[in-house]
Symmetry: C2
Subunit: 469 residues, 2 copies
């Protein structure tokens, strides 16, 4: 790894809070990459030279300008709740910690404006008096920053109603600082949002966001049990298609995941039951109950029906869902990892059934139902009883051969974790906004190795990591 | 028609406002049935013996009880804005006018409780201070009652987001009075709502409703122009599938309908342009504009961009849509009528194109995009340049042969205007709630003639009407 002139940088950044303590620097150079045994092996040693803490947009401009002058890479970080090393500085240099940009700036009917480092839960606390909340949040609601969610996430709780962050309209405006001698500040709206959303901070630093708000309904949590996994999936798919029953979460988790890993809910989870996790608006409760009866779903848990003393100590239902399902499994069994699967409409239920029949024991199913291009379908975040990286790759290949695209969470690049192709819009914007290629190096293959052939199935390896692998 | 003992009834109803003036009785015995030349011929002569005005649930109970005792039919009426004779008393007797039950009783986050005769616009005026509005309303928003909409309507403005009234969750609760010696008052929720929703008041009188509320966004009206009808339809379908762009109305209307009939918007409507009518939330404007550019749609009109003096005199955009499209055409050309078509997902665009190619000049296209069972598809309310009833039936048959089910607006029965089959739930409830068959006679074939064979294609004729046809 190239040595960076950190001493010179420190002089230039006088007045900005910096951190050099190796233990703290290492801790602030990591995220939840260790969900993946592959990434754990590849990225375990990664650390920045220095953490720089910004508390204002002016700080960000100054840090980027000085790092540009010295040719020092900068990797932005919110709360570090990503799972693919999004915020890990593969080429060392500076980690730009944005957690100090934590202000909620303005709340209006239908939207909120906040600094990028604001914690999602704090934004919602600020919005609640107006009867509003964010459309989408990750299961790391209580710890994740809004900027990190936008730069490194794709959807989550709320996607059953609102689709994903990639959908036009789920991000109103992003304010971005470029990595140049004189950094520019750009406001991106409409199509231009896609330039930097889910780009891992490789082509600009998000400092401020404007997000749409939805009404903050009184959400009821329900766990519905089924003896048959396919019945649970069919129920959830059909409930997803109920346009008038307002939902915020709709997941299906195959036994024995709930019984083995949802420890604090265990008394509600009979052995062998496959479960649907549902967050439904209280105004839809009668309709939801009637609909559940059509499918003979068994209500195992309802947050509005348990005694207050039983409610105490239970995590919110969304903390059993999305990547928290994986986290709860990992806490019990460190040998677990996971996958991210798309089961495309309209054959999603058939595909789920066929893959479950083929791999169900080794790859216990976890489905998250979402709106995707106007239809209801499901993503999978199945658990994997990990054996070897080779077998992991085989499992990925089996899914893709059967027709289920994988968003591989065992890769640290945008392309391999995503659509396995160059994002021309993000690449073009990187040429403009980060001409020296100093932002979060190693994450955009199209920039690092423009002739990389995605069709070979070969894994990209950032040169800066080669020495250590 | 059987003679009813109106004199005895008047004595029994002392203290309740009654109306016998034949001109007024006739006017209150009609709706917009004259949109259909067939219904106009069949129902033109229909009139009640007496109008009874209820101003409370107690009045309703008393009127039903006394009419039951005397064997006098009762046909309920809200504001009389239906199109199929829903509120027309085919067997004479009493029209029960519910417009005096007009109170908005309670507004809470997510729902409103109102009396059945409350005008939809008045409910929304009452809800607006809380930042809320109804999910769905007909284009007769300013005149229709909420009870009439539920008893005789199916969806409308808002259906692009919320589906139809038939969807579980779009009606929370209905309060109904039965037609018995001692009328019972029932509260129906969940599955039971379907017993009386869209039953034309044939099996109970709705006196109170509880409806879900949505946030009252600042809705921007847009008219987007296309040179090609198929392009307009493809744009609207794809915009419908944009889960994050909040919409309230999404219609496509083929030239020359807009130019010929939307008189007050004419200066925005160049000759030959097929148009999409869109109501979109202001928070989604950037996304909407970006999306429209993808389809090279031409913005002909935007309510937020015109001068206040130009806005004056323009009807709201929803009064160019749904059945107001038909109404505007009828005002210019009394020779126009219409149809109600479903273009089923997923082949809706192909079906629209094929039917438009076959019938486009005689049946100018009008599409209303909606969510239907979780997918985006479109209903059609095409205009018809009417010649004969025989040709009208041929046009219906052509649609059905090509794969587009018709909800025939030229029939006054529930079944023929709907799914062409017995609704077992509504029939069973009629047996229970109207054992003497006195509510809105002639509208439910399954009650009047249980062995009627829908497969013959024969039109049902209520015996009470035979003498006059």
């Amino acid at each position: 790894m190239m040595a960076h002139d950190i001493a010179a940088l420190k002089v230039r950044l006088a007045g900005i809070r910096l951190e050099e303590n190796p233990a703290i620097v290492r801790q602030r150079s990591r995220d939840f990459f260790w969900y993946s045994p592959t990434l754990k092996r590849q990225l375990e040693h990664i650390t920045a030279d220095l953490i720089a803490f910004a508390t204002s947009e002016e700080d960000v401009v100054r840090i980027l300008s000085e790092c540009f002058a010295l040719g020092i890479p900068v990797t932005p970080r919110g709360a570090g709740t990503g799972n693919y090393g999004q915020a890990m500085p593969l080429a060392g240099g500076v980690v730009l910690d944005l957690s100090g940009l934590d202000k909620v700036l303005e709340i209006a009917p239908g939207w909120v404006r906040a600094q990028a480092g604001a914690i999602i839960a704090d934004i919602e606390t600020a919005c609640r008096p107006s009867g509003q909340e964010l459309r989408l949040h990750p299961s790391t609601y209580r710890t994740a920053s809004i900027g990190g969610f936008i730069a490194g996430g794709s959807g989550g709780v709320g996607s059953i109603t609102w689709g994903g962050l990639r959908d036009l309209g789920n991000i109103i405006r992003l304010r971005v600082v470029t990595m140049e001698a004189s950094p520019r500040i750009l406001d991106l709206t409409g199509e231009d949002v896609a330039r930097v959303a889910h780009a891992y901070g490789t082509n600009g630093i998000i400092t401020e966001v404007e997000m749409p708000l939805a009404p903050a309904y009184d959400w009821i949590e329900a766990i519905i049990g089924f003896d048959d996994f396919a019945e649970a999936a069919a129920y959830a798919n059909a409930l997803g298609e109920q346009d008038a029953i307002l939902k915020k979460l709709l997941a299906v988790i195959a036994a024995p995941i709930p019984q083995d890993y949802f420890l604090r809910h265990r008394k509600y989870l009979p052995l062998g039951k496959h479960v649907a996790l549902v967050m439904v608006a209280s105004i839809a409760l009668d309709a939801f109950t009637a609909f559940t009866a059509r499918y003979a779903g068994e209500t195992l848990f309802r947050s509005d029906l348990i005694a207050p003393e039983d409610a105490k100590g239970l995590p919110p239902l969304y903390e059993l869902s999305w990547n928290h399902t994986t986290l709860r499994a990992l806490r019990v069994d460190p040998g677990i990892t996971y996958l991210q699967v798309l089961y495309p409409f309209p054959t999603q239920l058939d595909l789920v059934a066929r893959i479950h029949a083929e791999l169900g024991d080794e790859v216990p199913a976890h489905l998250e139902f979402v709106r995707f291009d106007g239809k209801i379908t499901c993503f999978g975040l199945p658990l994997i009883r990990f054996t070897t990286e080779q077998r992991l790759d085989e499992i990925v290949a089996i899914h893709e051969q059967m027709g289920a695209p994988i968003f591989n969470p065992h890769r640290y690049t945008l392309e391999e974790g995503g659509m396995k192709q160059t994002d021309a819009v993000q690449l073009a914007f990187k040429r403009e906004a980060d001409p020296a290629g100093l932002l979060n190096p190693g994450k955009m293959i199209a920039w690092e190795q423009p002739d990389f052939d995605f069709d070979t199935g070969r894994t990209y390896l950032f040169p800066g990591l080669q020495g250590s692998n």
